[in-house]
Symmetry: C2
Subunit: 189 residues, 2 copies
């Protein structure tokens, strides 16, 4: 079955600071037309940052879209001045936590909600962290606190419904998966 849809026209409704909204008319595979409400959103980077005590860094901040304080992995929009998604993440880890890390790897990249939005996120893992003497400032409209959590603490917070951010729930699952594989490899030695 040919699944491709073809854009016939697009009407821009709003052009904002972090997102644009348009309504597109598309041609469906059966030749009929339909409309799609589409958000264009700047890409972002996030990180699973693990310290020497095997704890993960999370930040607390107000999220106006859901009107609550969330616990999330450090993350942020990629600025036009960032050299790369990794460069953006290194800057964010400094701004949000005041840390630098010596070991980095890329975990995955994905679209947060491709049904209506093109927001792409690049997820990294890092460890071997050092606290920086001179932390970079947060954006002027950004307020948050950062803390460290063990896997057991994170699993309790998940069970209590206190972590509600998709990328953070995914990050915890990835980390648990890494630890399970390491334990499995140790068993086989």
């Amino acid at each position: 079955m040919d699944l491709k849809e073809t854009e016939i026209s697009s009407q821009q409704i709003f052009q904002g600071r972090i997102l644009d909204l348009s309504v597109r008319t598309i041609k469906l595979p059966n030749g009929e037309t339909a409309t799609r409400e589409i958000i264009k959103h700047r890409p972002a980077s996030g990180v699973i940052a693990i310290n020497d005590e095997q704890k993960m860094l999370l930040v607390k901040q107000w999220r106006e879209a859901i009107k609550q304080i969330t616990l999330e992995i450090p993350a942020g929009l990629i600025d036009p001045t960032d050299a790369s998604p990794l460069g953006a993440m290194k800057r964010e880890l400094n701004e949000e936590g005041g840390y630098k890390a010596d070991y980095w790897e890329k975990v995955s990249e994905f679209y947060s909600s491709p049904g209506f939005c093109d927001e792409k996120m690049y997820l990294f893992y890092c460890d071997t962290l050092t606290k920086l003497p001179d932390k970079r400032s947060l954006d002027a409209d950004e307020f948050l606190t950062a803390d460290w959590y063990s896997l057991d603490e994170l699993k309790n917070l998940l069970a209590e419904g206190k972590i509600v951010d998709a990328k953070t729930i995914y990050a915890i699952t990835v980390w648990e998966n890494m630890l399970l594989r390491n334990a499995q490899a140790d068993n086989k030695e």
Copy 2:
């Protein structure tokens, strides 16, 4: 530190079929004001559906927001007529795959991208599937195909960058995690 922000005013820009856009003026913790671009979006359900051959059901469909065909777990918006997120998921599993399942559990619930959007997703796991003789119809503007994938196939697709949907990447990680734990439990017996 008090992280709470307070809404001062909200201007609705657009009211659509699946999402609304507003620009809110908020008071920051330091007393300054800032604006936030906020999307309200209908909630959705998704499912990790595993058959008797230990394969996961994925659907292929065109995603206009990123202009590509994606491989995703069965999922869909919760209709006002659905009794619950689980009820919505049972309907979607029928519409998108033509299956019913006898065993269900809830995996998690999360906000896809709480930095700007209130879209909430309920993720389920199911197995013990039966093909239904009379499949429900898809929505009139929905075209997709459904297929089964082993964990090895999924890991290859991930490594090749061919799965780009956040909830699907998370779902695969959850499933792998379940299998790793089962293997660990078997080892201990």
